[in-house]
């Protein structure tokens, strides 16, 4: 056991990235994730690694492309408007199959929106985000310890599948402090990357590319990507299921899941049989969690800090076998335990139609 440290979410990601062997981090300031860049501005040089503040989010993600293509474990971070700017680069990175980690500490949108926590980038994160058929592996951590653990896993899976991984947090997770434990500094063995452009000493030319002008060639490349995504969907689904035998289920991720759990406890205290499905991977979405409870579940209530995004995946997973309700707040408002509890009780009492 290592020692427990009290750390802010944004800083904890930074330290976790260092422990995971992140060799290069490219920053651009945007609230509410600045502490991550500021932390790494200090820590990366201490470890003789690369910290660079880019001229824009666009440049930062393309620096990640270059560094990842050169074989380094690379990361960038931003918040919603900045992540929108990175989408072109993320599409190229996915197409060229470069491993990297992208942190999105989501804030309210659309547009410049607010600087308060939100979950309204779920569509963008899980459905591709940029142009073309591609997927990111998307994590929705709910505690600071989980931020740390999933940051390590993000680098590991990025390399394993040669795919970008997104950590979809929110402003609240980035700012809150909790005790965390980190893996030791020297625990990670970096994998060999024979495909990387490091100079062609002793081997033929390597090329990092996403251009496939021949239609058959691009069709084959896309088939290869889809096969990889199917493998990820088979092997990397992660979720938490509480009270599998319940009648009603709350569905929530990230910060919202913490409040939803409290609402569940309150309802349980009133004698209701309520459970919680908390997706940890937002893509691949944990359909399996729903399959486990569909035989007896009477209804689902999806709670999000959005106008209703993940609820669409919940409906696909439930596939009409039970009513799926939604409760959401936007703009930086975190749904309260009482609000969620009341929405749930309405459903239980039959007063609410899906």
């Amino acid at each position: 056991m290592g020692e427990l440290l009290l750390m802010k979410g944004n800083e904890a990601i930074g330290e976790a990235a260092i422990r995971a062997g992140c060799q290069a981090y490219f920053a651009y300031p945007i609230t509410p994730q600045n502490e991550l860049g500021e932390y790494l501005a200090r820590r990366m040089p201490e470890e003789s690694r690369v910290f660079l503040q880019a001229e824009s989010e666009v440049a930062a993600i393309n620096m990640v492309y270059g560094a990842a293509g050169a074989g380094a474990r690379a990361m960038t971070s931003s918040s919603s408007p900045g992540i929108s700017l990175k989408q072109e680069g993320i599409s190229y990175i996915a197409a060229a199959e470069l491993p990297c980690v992208i942190v999105n500490m989501v804030r309210g949108g659309p547009g410049l929106g607010s600087i308060q926590p939100a979950q309204s980038d779920y569509f963008q994160a899980t459905k591709g985000g940029g142009h073309g058929d591609y997927r990111l592996i998307v994590f929705g951590p709910s505690t600071i310890q989980e931020l740390v653990d999933l940051t390590g896993l993000a680098f590991e899976l990025a390399d394993k599948y040669r795919n970008p991984v997104m950590i979809l947090g929110d402003g609240a997770l980035g700012q809150m402090m909790e005790p965390v434990e980190f893996p030791a500094m020297d625990e990670v063995t970096l994998p060999l990357k024979p495909w990387a452009t490091t100079g062609m000493k002793g081997r033929p030319q390597n090329v990092i590319n996403s251009l496939h002008l021949d239609p058959e060639d691009l069709d084959r490349h896309n088939a290869h990507l889809q096969e990889k995504y199917r493998a990820i969907a088979r092997q990397e689904v992660r979720y938490e299921l509480e009270n599998q035998d319940a009648d009603y289920f709350l569905v929530a991720y990230g910060t919202t899941a913490r409040v939803a759990r409290n609402a569940m406890h309150k309802a349980q205290g009133e004698g209701h049989r309520v459970g919680l499905i908390r997706p940890v991977t937002l893509w691949p979405f944990p359909d399996a969690a729903f399959a486990k409870v569909l035989d007896r579940a009477r209804a689902f209530l999806t709670v999000e800090m959005s106008a209703g995004q993940m609820v669409e995946d919940v409906r696909l997973a439930v596939n009409g076998r039970a009513p799926v309700h939604f409760y959401g707040r936007t703009g930086g408002v975190i749904p309260s335990q009482q609000e969620i509890y009341e929405a749930l009780i309405k459903i239980i009492q039959g007063g609410e139609k899906a």
Binding site: A24, A59, M63, Y65, G89, G199, Q205
Partner: protein, 250 residues
């Protein structure tokens, strides 16, 4: 008999897709000759842009990355920062570098990134069919300035290389041309100096090469060389704008 001149090793055997008389081929060969001369083929990483030279990874026989439109200096930065002992060059056209990639090139120069940029200026967007670029000359006709570029409507041509010479991080900045053998030799020398500047760790280096586009200019290859000499050079004067240890033409 001894071979005096043949294909450089850092160039692949594959023929290029460039139009007849397009000077991209000359510039590719000069870069490859410089890589050979410096003996750095096995430690060089090139970046291909978006534009006519997007397939540069098929022509250079070194490790290559293909970059998004205008982002080659950022990609080059990412590579060089994690592999500081390698030689990293970006190959960019004028639409790619001076328009959509203006921010990336200025900040790479300003940071003094130890990379080399070969900036091929043919005054328009070639790959997409000859549209106006920031470098298009006044009165020059393109498909998006069909009556000729007018300052009031389209703005003025941009001398971005002069701007880059002002950047403190830029160590070697030159503008050259490939319109005749003398200037081809000078271009080779400039590219060599730019690579040497990088290898010596002196900072950012860029060589703007005035180039032709016979297809979109609607001229024969030989007429294009004459057009370059008579129209481009007066507006885009040749010379070394900045060099380590002193400025000006050497």
């Amino acid at each position: 008999m001894k071979q005096l001149f043949g294909p450089p090793r850092a160039l692949q055997e594959r023929p290029t897709h460039y139009c007849p008389g397009c000077t991209h081929g000359i510039i590719h060969r000069l870069i490859a000759e410089v890589i050979d001369e410096l003996g750095v083929q096995e430690k060089t990483i090139g970046i291909a842009p978006v534009g006519c030279s997007v397939f540069a990874y098929d022509y250079f026989n070194v490790d290559m990355q293909q970059a998004a439109h205008g982002r080659a200096p950022a990609v080059a930065t990412g590579i060089k920062r994690v592999l500081p002992d390698r030689v990293v060059f970006a190959y960019q056209g004028d639409g790619d570098l001076a328009s959509i990639g203006a921010a990336e090139i200025i900040h790479a120069a300003s940071r003094g990134e130890k990379i080399t940029v070969i900036f091929v200026n043919n005054t328009l967007y070639g790959m997409t069919g000859g549209q106006m670029a920031p470098t298009t000359l006044l009165t020059q006709k393109t498909t998006t300035s069909p009556l000729g570029r007018k300052e009031g409507q389209h703005g003025f041509p941009l001398k971005i290389t002069e701007m880059l010479a002002l950047a403190a991080g830029a160590a070697y900045v030159a503008r050259v041309s490939v319109h005749n053998p003398t200037h081809i030799a000078r271009t080779r020398k400039s590219i060599l100096e730019a690579f040497k500047t990088q290898i010596a760790g002196r900072g950012f280096s860029i060589v703007e090469v005035l180039s032709t586009c016979p297809t979109n200019w609607g001229l024969s290859p030989l007429e294009s060389l004459k057009w370059l000499e008579e129209n481009m050079i007066p507006f885009y004067p040749l010379g070394v704008l900045k060099a380590p240890g002193g400025e000006g033409m050497k």
